[in-house]
Symmetry: C2
């Protein structure tokens, strides 16, 4: 390894790499070439500048002690040179040089090692017009413009296309502070269709609805029109009008320079790298949202543009360049998003994704207390667990609740990454006290339920229709009234053993309760008596939280 | 395996075992023999009955849907027979029988498999008198009596001996609802001396002090006197008076029956079992607070009476008895406790414990944001990480903060159990969004800091005295005023490169900042210039939160 390192892109990955490499190699020349003049924003915070949680964009460019991370900060404190306002025009991988255009014209820059940290850019919808009433939500400039328009009262009604992570955060931002009318249009069947299954997605959809967001799912956009008076989005069923439109249908890796340099792209269209973050050409490396990574469940290359991964990649790459034995290994794709009062987090694969990948995958659903059930502030948490039937390997976990569900998903992530079995998860050790957790970890309990499912004690999705099954409700009368299921036979669990004769043993049963605990107990007992019975996974609480009175 | 299982003790372990075994073996005869007539309390909730968070003791005996877990519940719903009010007098392991005394006299009961789930009982202080003004805090009866006395206004001033988990929870209970004067007396050097090191312990001590609890550490009790007017606790320095005294110095395994049955006890005095929870005699098993388990760090048998482990053991033992290939493996001892507004959690070994075990162990300290640093509601969290120097194996983590730190400790627990290295922890994947976590996991950052320490970029304990070191404060002037260190040389990090000449390079330096981030950066830079410099781990925020104005 030699001594002049050029990093293209002052993103999370690029700057992390630069700063750590300086620490590891105090004598090297480390330069970051960045086309913008303002950079180093913590872009994940943009939605909260709009929502007012964060007063000013500058906070996202500052350290925890309030220092602005501008050129002089990086030079004086981090010892890294920044060529700001320099756009790279071409890369010569043989000569090890690049040409860039800056404020003072073109410059030719030599390097021994080149790092591409060019990030990603927003995807457009085919035929998307260019108009001031339309924007993506990607750059500081987008935030600034939207906030100005909101302050001026120019946006009373806004359409967001895409109920992905950014779309969801924006829906809250527009609604909570500005009380704008928000219409969220999603082509997939539910919010976060790539990350969640229908059961968890429906929880988010209902929360959005309760908070006044109109959510239209399964809705492809056919045409977008914009003029000075407003925007119109034409969908198969209707034409939606608003003052402003935000396209938040995801990002694509920024690979123009990589292609100029002749680097191989992977199957996702992002830059292909190995675990050392080396590209297909010697001495050229890449990190951040422009690369693809390996998914721990599928083993496939995926484009996973998450800030947490970009930061880690930048750090690892600095280690690699400094000659350390570091690698960036497979990812589980752990993610979390705040949707008004709900938190949704997931890791690994959803059931639909696992099946698309060819796994013989199954799922269970549970509703549980986040703390000891008698703890007064305990919140419900809804957990879906996905595993491969033959190997009992854990493939993924989704969790949605009012509390902080990240702790559960962070733990599950470690098991997904190891390809651990459901049975190992069942032996999980966790820290327990009544204000913080139940005595058995909810993840362990989910694993017990999965093991039961494997052994024939089966739950159905909380969104299931009764179909040909008769409904047996084993709740107390007071509970039945709160979240009713019409036409159910009511026998509280406590009385079931004595009232078995009331059940027609020639028909199949779906047993329901609040959370899926009592109904599972009932099903076990009915199955011992050779009845065909299943229970509603996650119980009526999940079902009702997802479907409301339409349950 | 055969068909009559007798379980002694309707504790968490015993009842879990009974209920699951019934599910796995519907035709077996399963009996629980319990000396009390009220049982199946979630005893971990007792402190919050006292504090008023939980209205009534009965809530701790109820399911999440409000059903009382009494004999008829276990018989009708769980299919388990309970012999309540039956005290076991003797066990004949050859004949496979036991004699018990119940309300109707003595009975002789036969079994094929016997499970001892006899729990633990409170440790007394040598010479502790018997008097109504003295009690342990272990049984429902203790809670009832204390609550009655509080309601009657009989306890205005209370002494708690022992700042362990129960002592800390009780201090809050007496203080927060009843505004009693609380004096907490601890023989060890700080609260939770067996679980935390001095740095984390000092954070709890300060919090207790701020909440009006008088904490006396390093204070052995020499004598306890009690009469109708009150109690007196004599310590070397003073005699403390109060209306009531609670002895909360821990529990010991209840092994009287095990000894009657001729079972081997382990080095801790608890019942020795293997991973299948088998005792030294065939067909006799044990689970819960009466057994010892293997610690993942030391490999030694330890007595670890935690509700989470007892519940898991009961479950595993049911699987074992039903013929399944289940095991109860080593534990990391993960624990968490609420101390007023702070949460303290830990896993693995503390530094002092690791050194006592003979490890060449080291530690680092960090103060970090729980969320993205710009998130307005982000709380500080203080983390100590302990590892073995030769192997870089993670030995333990402690975390204290105002938010929920359990997620961090739950993840760390998985690494401790695997004997993972610091470098594996550094590659941790976590779920990230600004309201939930920083972009790099605090655990990963702690691992980076440990790696730095290993490579010579060293921090000192946040409780350190300056000693021969001169103090360099690299904070901004506004920060210095808030949490000052007298006689420090002040050079903000941003100016350090230009003002190097102001530092005497012939003396050793201790560099300080708010959290340990900037000071580490400064130390790295000073070391490159061959100065002898270390930084204050966890920074002035930790130090000040632990020592207050005495910092």
């Amino acid at each position: 390894m030699s001594h002049r390192v050029m990093i293209v892109g002052a993103s999370a990955a690029g700057l992390r790499c630069a700063a750590r490499l300086r620490r590891l190699q105090p004598d090297w020349k480390i330069t970051v070439c960045e086309q913008a003049t303002a950079y180093s924003f913590a872009a994940c915070g943009f939605p909260w500048v709009l929502s007012g949680e964060i007063d000013d964009l500058a906070e996202l460019r500052s350290t925890s002690w309030g220092a602005l991370r501008d050129r002089s900060f990086f030079e004086d404190v981090k010892g890294v040179e920044i060529l700001e306002g320099h756009r790279v025009l071409s890369i010569d991988s043989k000569d090890r040089s690049l040409e860039a255009e800056g404020p003072d014209g073109r410059v030719l820059l030599s390097w021994d090692q080149l790092v591409l940290a060019t990030g990603a850019s927003p995807i457009s919808i085919p035929g998307q017009p260019e108009h001031p009433r339309l924007c993506s939500f990607h750059l500081a400039e987008d935030v600034r413009r939207l906030k100005t328009a909101l302050i001026r009262g120019e946006i009373e009604r806004v359409i967001i296309i895409g109920a992905g992570l950014v779309g969801l955060e924006l829906a809250e931002a527009f609604r909570s502070l500005w009380e704008a009318e928000v219409i969220l249009v999603e082509a997939g069947p539910h919010p976060l269709p790539k990350l969640l299954d229908a059961e968890a997605g429906a929880l988010l959809r209902r929360e959005l609805g309760k908070q006044g967001v109109r959510v239209i799912c399964g809705c492809p956009v056919e045409e977008i029109l914009a003029d000075d008076k407003g925007v119109v989005v034409r969908c198969p069923a209707e034409a939606i009008r608003a003052d402003h439109l935000i396209v938040a249908v995801g990002v694509k890796p920024e690979t123009a320079l990589a292609q100029l340099a002749g680097l191989a792209l992977g199957r996702t269209g992002a830059i292909a790298v190995n675990e050392r973050l080396a590209t297909s050409k010697p001495n050229i490396w890449a990190a951040g949202d422009c690369i693809e990574v390996r998914h721990a469940v599928s083993g496939e290359a995926v484009h996973c543009p998450l800030g947490s991964l970009a930061n880690r990649q930048g750090r690892v790459l600095a280690g690699v360049l400094a000659g350390r034995e570091e690698r960036f290994r497979s990812v589980a794709g752990a993610m979390v998003v705040k949707v008004f009062d709900l938190t949704a987090a997931a890791t690994g694969c959803s059931l639909s994704e696992a099946r698309r990948l060819g796994f013989h995958a199954r799922a269970v659903w549970m509703t549980t207390d986040e703390c000891a059930h008698y703890w007064p502030e305990s919140e419900d948490v809804h957990i879906q667990l996905v595993w491969e039937e033959e190997t009992m390997r854990l493939l993924g976990v989704q969790a949605v609740g009012r509390g902080r569900v990240t702790g559960l998903i962070d733990v599950a992530t470690q098991y997904v990454l190891q390809g651990a079995s459901i049975d190992r998860l069942a032996g999980l050790e966790h820290c327990y006290a009544p204000p913080f957790a139940p005595a058995l970890s909810p993840l362990a309990v989910a694993a017990f339920i999965a093991r039961n499912q494997h052994e024939g004690l089966c739950c159905l999705s909380p969104l299931s229709k009764a179909g040909r099954r008769h409904i047996l409700d084993v709740r107390l009368p007071s509970e039945q009234k709160l979240r009713p299921w019409a036409d159910a036979l009511h026998i509280p669990l406590e009385e079931l053993r004595g009232r078995l004769a009331e059940l027609d043993s020639s028909v199949p049963w779906l047993v329901i309760c609040e959370r899926g605990t009592r109904s599972a107990e009932a099903v076990r007992w009915l199955r011992e008596r050779r009845l065909d019975a299943r229970y509603l996974g996650g119980g009526m609480i999940w079902r009702h939280s997802a479907l409301g009175d339409g349950a």
